[in-house]
Symmetry: C2
Subunit: 337 residues, 2 copies
Amino acid sequence: MQRKRVTLDEVARIAGVSRATVSLVVRKSPLVADHTREKVEQVMADLDYVRDIGAARLRNNSSRTVGVIVPNLVNSFFTEFLAGVERVMGEDDRVVLLANSQDDPRRQEEILQRFRGHGVDGVILCPAAGTDPDLPARMRRWGLPVVQSLREIGRDATDYAGADYIEGVRLAVQHLVGLGRRRIAFLSVSARTSAREERLAGFARALAETGATDAGIVEADLTWEGAAHSAAEVLALRSRPEAVLCFNDVLAAGLMLGLRRAGLEPGRDMGVVGLDDLPLAELTYPPLTSVAMDPAGIGVAAARLLARRLADAGAPVERSILAPRLVVRESSGSDAG
Amino acid sequence: MQRKRVTLDEVARIAGVSRATVSLVVRKSPLVADHTREKVEQVMADLDYVRDIGAARLRNNSSRTVGVIVPNLVNSFFTEFLAGVERVMGEDDRVVLLANSQDDPRRQEEILQRFRGHGVDGVILCPAAGTDPDLPARMRRWGLPVVQSLREIGRDATDYAGADYIEGVRLAVQHLVGLGRRRIAFLSVSARTSAREERLAGFARALAETGATDAGIVEADLTWEGAAHSAAEVLALRSRPEAVLCFNDVLAAGLMLGLRRAGLEPGRDMGVVGLDDLPLAELTYPPLTSVAMDPAGIGVAAARLLARRLADAGAPVERSILAPRLVVRESSGSDAG
DNA sequence: CCTGTGATTTAGAACGATCTAAATCCAGCA
DNA sequence: TGCTGGATTTAGATCGTTCTAAATCACAGG
């Protein structure tokens, strides 16, 4: 059923040149004479020739394929990230192999093996929570270039693209303190990742800098339902917080729902700030104050880092950290309030 | 720099058997004797052998790779769809090549050529608006199996997985009419796709069935900002609608924002119903009544259809249409109101 | 001890490209 | 004419796997 492929050989035969010459034309080598090139290109167009990249890779070791592993696909943060990666790779005539680790290191391992089997040129990895710290070293042993992104295992083990979470948290805390809300709680997630640690560290540091008080740290599942349920826990904290800073916008939106169910008005009775500034932030009620992390930009940066590493395997390890930006809406409460 | 691959040959040499035998072991053929199999498997594990799927495909024509083309990645509808596809493919030890057409037929064409070059076994396509109706036929000529999903070019040209949009719209209209809201407007998108046509057709049919009146059709960009702006247009319709049915939840959320800006209370002053039931629907204020289309389930169905077609190229064309489910929240207004 | 049979194993040719090294072409010059 | 050198072109090996067809093995039966 499968129609037989048009091969270099056929093109060569019909164009009356050798296979090697056609190969040179395909690769746009300057070695071929103009009239030959034109003739060959004409034939390729006529026959609808499509170069078999797998066969090419077998010989020259470049599949123009990169793998991307994200821990989930429902949080639009990762999706926008992915869109950024995909755009750059597409421009560069590369193709993205996508896989979802579901934040499970075992699945992640299987995926990596599959990627190896497919001969990917490199991988952009957002490591699953609980990933073996040895992974970057193993990948190096495999000869598989990798860029970590959004999260990180073993600092400086590989190139890395992310946002400055610490600064992001600082912006949020400063904003709240500026509004007069000094008792601040943090709504965190349970999955242990570098992103979590950084945000928590940033929280502690920002409290110290601004002199605000730590009203406590509450953990929730990374779903809006989980966050909604945690509202009770937040309200039961020894010293009732004046504001809650949330690990991300999904949690923040869920928390606001939970607060409202408890009869409170987010923004007025309790300041709520998210992190990430997903499109969602604008649509909640009240609109959510958040810190934009530009996931698409991070994706672009990660893709560029990988492209650079593929071009030069020996380049020094590089980190690309994007600056966050505070987006004030209504959920943090107004100055007057 | 790139570590040399461990090949079948090496494994064979060390295990003291032939390349062919190792190949049989890799493919779990029942032809090899148990003690041989064990010996070879041991060596493979020791050497960390990874089979080169590209080389395999070159010989046997199965890359265990499928391409997926979606028109965008920011709408979480497509992401959940993708997650469903990815899950099934992963279980089946296949890998997903992802690409984003940005609803541009030219980009889509480039992507398809790239996929062809990579030797994908098949494609799951959500055709870009404005795709040449001839595309399915061309793909057939290429010998490239395809399943269309979510949208469709040329009914019955290929396998198709989607939701019953017409029924979904009917559910929504019936619900609104049941609440006593009989003058209903439709907030649509501008991009011409089969999804749009179906929903519009469903709207007309549902109006006829229920005896509700068509308050008009308004078009917006497929962004929440666009929908927010269109609120004015909705309010200016000759006969002011009692409810608005929206092409999807993103538009519905934006519309509610626009209505509130105009001083109206969605749900009370104007019923709003979305389609798709994204996670977002629960987080808007008021929570959005919507029709669940189960995008992940559609993704699963699409993947299964493709797997089936790959197993049997001659199978009859099949359509897999999921039933929608109305999810009543508050934005449609209460019975009492 | 030879032969037939089913169970295993294998040599060697594919697959479709790229690479290397060498061949051929062609003008310019002695 | 014959030689030289740069510009083009090419033959043939090669990448890592699978396929085909045939070889080999082990053992039962005669």
